[in-house]
Symmetry: C2
Subunit: 146 residues, 2 copies
DNA sequence: CGGGTTGCTTGACGATCTCAAGCATCAATG
DNA sequence: CATTGATGCTTGAGATCGTCAAGCAACCCG
């Protein structure tokens, strides 16, 4: 009775575990962001900026109203972490781009998610591959959904 | 070249995937809660109430300030989903308990997380067991952390 | 050019969150 | 018992987040 035989978990148990890990990881992210004076939402927006993204696109990515994005970008811009650039093809559109400092900041936030990193470090290569494969299969079903 | 050979994902890829699923699942939860007129935070608090929990305990569980819990419980109590009860052993303490309606509401919210449910349905028993085992191993490292 | 749509911002309002301050109660001490 | 310090909860101020309604500019189409 030392090694617990791997019973099949109920869907409820699995759901609870996924939820618990999701929030734990979010807390880790929020804490890392806070160390750099960012709220979790600001950091999340920043993490979407691999290239220029129009305001509307950010609203879609963050699953929120466009008017909400205005304020978040305002605060990030006031700190010099992002910039609003006019879109050459459509004068209505403003593309948001991360400044060098913005990129560097979000890079550090990701690097400082210690809890998540050390958790992932407990898995060996094969386990990581297995986990990745399973999570990838879960993704399509969880993709935004209208 | 049809079946993609399972490469070992980088830690960054794995981290990104975990983050993406975490937020997707959170969106699913929030949407289900909204259908019952609850914010995600209210629903999350409600989901912690298997038994009586003091205000202070809720603040710890939600990783937030105690003063924040006051307002959230106020709103839930105004709707009759929770109740504040005096603690027999310590008159400072107020224990929060879910009413029958509260329990029923959160049960429905969980049941209505369609995206999450259908995602989990794509896994067979063995895969679920494997996933559960791996996620459980990730849990200790992600458990609250100071 | 006129009319409908789209992208962004503004303003109003509620919910969340933190911090500082305050009150009541508990626990330990003399 | 009275004092002192810690603990549990609430209140109030102030910032952020989030929605909705309204408005303006620019696009698209006929």
């Amino acid at each position: 009775m030392t090694a617990t035989a791997p019973r099949t978990p109920t869907k409820a148990q699995l759901l609870e575990l996924v939820a618990a890990l999701g929030t734990a990881q979010w807390q880790d992210f929020a804490a890392a962001a806070a160390r750099h004076g960012l709220t979790s939402v600001q950091a999340k927006l920043l993490s979407q900026l691999k290239g220029p993204v129009p305001m509307r696109g950010l609203a879609t990515l963050l699953v929120c109203d466009a008017s909400n994005v205005t304020g978040i970008v305002d605060r990030l811009e006031a700190r010099g972490l992002v910039r609003r650039e006019p879109d050459p093809a459509d004068r209505r559109v403003k593309n948001v781009v991360a400044t060098d400092e913005g990129h560097e900041t979000i890079r550090r936030v990701r690097a400082e998610m210690q809890a998540t990193h050390s958790a992932l470090d407990t898995l060996d290569e094969e386990e990581r591959t297995t986990l990745y494969g399973l999570l990838e299969r879960l993704r399509p079903g969880l993709e935004h959904r209208g």
